[in-house]
């Protein structure tokens, strides 16, 4: 893939996010080994609020849980919610963007107005109220709600690209060679559109993860899913801020920011390589 050579930002972004994903996937084995069989959220396993030591690199929290494994579990669930909701949002965004971009006319105007509406209004309070008043919120339901409010950002990114790809002469050449609409969409437009789907996907993932972390930080959402937001919530309510329990609060924040920064680097890298305008300046 030429993109790795052309864009250092993209490469750095991909490396970081892959590392985080690998760590999240290894979490069950690592935790089983480190806590010899216990779950990382089990209370009272160790002494409370131990300082960092060899077997507890980040020490333990006021409930006697090993902070490192807590964060590993938290990362796994945060990524899980982020990628589930992100994929749902991206699928909706791709379908609606293709519909609006390819068909144009009043469909385009309608979808654009709705997506601008969703993009403009502050969605977080609405999600918070919904999650508050739903008694049983599982991962899927939460992802659905988050996806509903984040597809708009991605589709707004994608629609102009599809509209411009549709106008390209090679699409008209395909029509004139007897291609059906479906063939054109999948064989002519989609391959050149892949980078923009990924841009939309990373917008959706960062958007949903930020919203989910905010919800959990305040104690809303499924209690049985210990994402990083939940870890921060425990830290907050156990007075970690006052006692200056840095590892319990700073490390989850750093991990989350790593995810957001890496996804953004990927976006910026893709944009620099695939955006014809910027290419003009780099002279290649």
């Amino acid at each position: 893939m030429r993109i790795f050579k052309d864009s250092p930002k993209f490469t750095v972004g991909i490396i970081i996010i892959l590392l985080l994903i690998i760590i999240a996937l290894l979490e069950p084995k690592v935790n089983v080994y480190r806590l010899n069989g216990h779950s990382s959220t089990e209370i009272g396993l160790y002494e409370t609020s131990l300082p960092p030591s060899r077997d507890h690199p980040f020490g333990t929290d006021p409930y006697g849980r090993d902070v490192l494994s807590l964060i590993l579990t938290g990362l796994k669930y945060s990524l899980l919610v982020g990628f589930t909701a992100g994929s749902l949002a991206t699928i909706v965004a791709v379908v609606l963007a293709t519909l609006a971009g390819y068909k144009g006319g009043s469909i385009d105007a309608f979808i654009t107005t709705v997506s601008n509406a969703i993009l403009v209004i502050p969605s977080w309070p609405i999600v918070a109220i919904i999650v508050l008043f739903v008694d049983k919120v599982n991962l899927l339901y939460l992802s659905l709600i988050l996806a509903f409010f984040s597809w708009a950002g991605s589709s707004r990114q994608m629609k102009p690209q599809i509209a411009s790809l549709k106008e390209r002469p090679y699409v008209e050449l395909a029509k004139v060679t007897g291609f059906s609409d479906l063939e054109i969409m999948f064989k002519e437009i989609l391959p050149n559109f892949l980078p923009y789907i990924f841009v939309g996907f990373s917008y959706a993932v960062t958007g949903t993860m930020m919203a989910e972390t905010a919800l959990r930080l305040v104690g809303l959402g499924p209690a049985d899913i210990p994402s990083l937001g939940q870890v921060l919530n425990w830290a907050l309510y156990s007075g970690a801020l006052a006692q200056g329990h840095y590892f319990l609060t700073l490390v989850p924040i750093v991990v989350l920011v790593l995810v957001f920064v890496s996804m953004n680097l990927i976006n910026v890298g893709l944009d620099e390589v695939y955006n014809p305008r910027l290419k003009k300046i780099t002279g290649v």
């Binding site: 002469p169 090679y170 008209e172 391959p191 050149n192």
Partner: protein, 328 residues
């Protein structure tokens, strides 16, 4: 152009309106891209040039013929049958017989695939070869016919070819397909002058292989070089039609005269003697006409009369070629 034999292609009073609809309850702006265009090409293969400035509607005509756009009113007949019927019932045959070459060589190739795919899909889609070897030989033969060396060209990506090579690759595609009618939309305007002639020669030779060509351009010189018949179009209306020698040597319509005198001659001894006068009408951006009333050329015409302002002249036979102007 004799009327008796059945026509290969015929446009009857074609009108095309583009409306700029917008959801925010704004009033729609109506633009007449084409107003009452009629012309025909008979069965016998020829090169017909359609010459007009940018924004004159010539690309719209090309899109209508290829079914990429629908006419607002009027008919487009290929071998007497409306294009819409062809595309509904015999789409494959129509696509086989009516083909196109686009203007921008950098955009007619999908950057994702190697260039060979263009030729392979044509062979697969229309079943032009029984097996792989026949397909390969057909491809190589067509590339050599347009002066490209298969070994150097095949297997490469579009960005690895020059503009000239890519445009000739599209010619090879036409050679394989052997269509009846080829619409060439400004095929050489992006090529260097030194490469244009060889491309235009191919368009001329297509006649020998039974391929008629509708050559769309803004450049009267290249039209004069390769076409047998010529049509001048301005703001969506055809102003003059006829054999190319007739129209160039003895232009009738004021606009055609203006065009011919404005073209610089590559000969220092024949420099312009007259001066062009500017008029305020040209100040505004030239966009499609908003009304259908009156002659399209009224506001720029030196011979404009009152009659020209409100009613538009119809096509009249004068000195064995046709012109639409009240002077005649």
């Amino acid at each position: 152009m004799s009327r008796t034999t059945e026509n290969l292609l015929e446009l009857k009073n074609v009108v095309k309106i583009f409306t700029r609809a917008s959801f925010e309850l704004a009033k729609e702006r109506v633009v007449y891209a084409l107003s009452d265009v009629s012309f025909s090409m008979d069965i016998e293969p020829k090169v017909l040039a359609l010459v007009g400035e940018s924004g004159s509607g010539k690309t719209t005509i090309c899109k209508l013929i290829l079914g990429l756009e629908e006419p607002t009113s009027g008919e487009i007949l290929y071998k007497g049958i409306p294009v819409s019927t062809w595309l509904r019932n015999y789409m494959k045959d129509y696509r086989r017989e009516v083909q196109i070459i686009f203007q921008d060589p950098f955009e007619t190739f999908n950057p994702f695939y190697r260039v060979d795919r263009v030729l392979w899909t044509v062979i697969q889609k229309f079943g032009l070869a029984k097996d792989k070897n026949e397909a390969e030989s057909k491809i190589e033969e067509s590339l050599e016919a347009v002066g490209l060396r298969p070994k150097e060209i095949l297997g490469r990506y579009p960005h690895q070819l020059s503009g000239g090579e890519r445009q000739r690759f599209m010619l090879a595609r036409v050679y394989i397909l052997r269509p009846k009618l080829l619409v060439a939309d400004e095929p050489v305007s992006m090529l260097d002058a030194s490469l244009r002639a060889v491309f235009l020669d191919h368009l001329k030779d297509f006649k020998k292989n039974g391929i008629s060509c509708l050559y769309i351009t803004h450049d009267l010189n290249t039209a004069y070089y390769i076409s047998d018949y010529i049509m001048i179009i301005y703001a969506g209306k055809i102003l003059e039609k006829g054999s190319v020698e007739e129209v160039i040597r003895n232009p009738l319509h004021p606009y055609t005269k203006m065009l011919i005198t404005s073209i610089p001659v590559p000969d220092p001894t024949k420099r312009w003697t007259d001066k062009v006068k500017i008029d305020i009408a040209q100040l505004q951006k030239v966009s499609g006409r908003e009304t259908i009333k009156g002659c399209v050329f009224y506001h720029r015409c030196d011979y404009a009369m009152d009659i020209c302002r409100d009613n538009s002249p119809s096509m009249k036979d004068v000195e064995d070629h046709e012109v639409s102007c009240f002077l005649y």
